[in-house]
């Protein structure tokens, strides 16, 4: 039991670190496509946490990625922080709901990507009190489907290779 607990904690720490690194690496090396659409590589880590560990752990990984990621970039509690927090919050909710209804990894990933775009747009609408930005939503929604498929395929192929958290019996 203790071994399993330790393994879960280690996996959680590693996934949180992976989420932070992926989010930072993406912002530095890839950047948004057409100025607005991100691939969302960090979502792979959140998705793995959800399917491998559980919903509570997914929330922790997502929160770490927003908090530490923005702390590294020096944008904490600024406008980009709230926009990313809004996206992660809604995508977390959507992915948890998809997981609750026992959806496939691919679908959970796509729904997460779509909800992330919607969450960010809603925050910008609120931040700028500018409902006109909603015009960007159809583009983001259509763009989120391929990025969600890409991260979903990566996450499901990693999930197949992850070892069981249960300890192997000694005898």
């Amino acid at each position: 039991m203790t071994i399993e607990k330790n393994r879960r904690l280690t996996a959680l720490a590693m996934l949180s670190a992976a989420a932070v690194v992926l989010s930072y690496a993406e912002s530095v090396f890839i950047g948004p496509i057409y100025g607005v659409l991100r691939i969302g590589l960090a979502n792979i880590a959140s998705l793995l946490a959800l399917k491998y560990l559980g919903r509570r752990e997914m929330v922790i990984v997502s929160a770490m990625r927003v908090l530490i990621g923005n702390l590294i970039r020096g944008t904490i509690f600024g406008s980009t922080f709230w926009i990313s927090a809004g996206g992660v919050f809604l995508s977390g909710l959507a992915m948890a709901a998809a997981d609750y209804t026992e959806s496939t990894v691919l679908f959970t990933s796509i729904i997460g990507a779509i909800a992330h775009s919607v969450g960010q747009t809603v925050v910008v609408m609120f931040f700028y009190r500018q409902p006109g930005i909603a015009a960007i939503l159809p583009y983001l929604l259509l763009g989120s489907v391929p990025t969600g498929i890409a991260t979903g395929i990566i996450a499901s192929s990693i999930l197949k290779r992850l070892p069981s958290l249960k300890p192997i019996p000694a005898d």
Partner: protein, 115 residues
């Protein structure tokens, strides 16, 4: 993926495609006004059919807006990610996407259209 998941995705994609279709149903004629808003206040308005280039002050050095033949785009911005400049040209004939520069707290959007 399950059948239920295909249906949900199909509905989302169809809704987005329908919204895009309606967004592009805007013919080009005069009477348009584009607004540049910083925070809560509109700092400048322009007619997209009059060619001009002007500077707008912002939180990180501001930006320049170039207007040409019914289209407008952002140049010379000093933002870290260059999101607003990378959005490229926006025009009344093909799109009504607002150009958003989060670091400068500036948004450029189509305010009025002819009825």
């Amino acid at each position: 993926m399950k059948k239920r998941e295909w249906i949900i995705l199909g509905v989302i994609v169809l809704a987005a495609a329908a919204a895009l279709f309606f967004l592009h149903q805007r013919p080009q004629k005069s009477g348009y006004t584009v607004a540049v808003q910083r925070g809560d206040t509109i700092v400048q308005e322009f007619d997209p059919l009059k060619d001009q280039t002007f500077h707008v002050d912002g939180d990180v050095g501001g930006l320049d807006v170039e207007v040409k033949e019914g289209k407008w785009h952002v140049i010379h911005e000093k933002c870290p990610n260059h999101v607003c400049a990378n959005m490229g040209w926006m025009g009344i004939s093909d799109t009504i996407l607002p150009i958003t520069c989060i670091p400068n707290n500036i948004i450029i959007y189509l305010k009025e259209s002819p009825e």
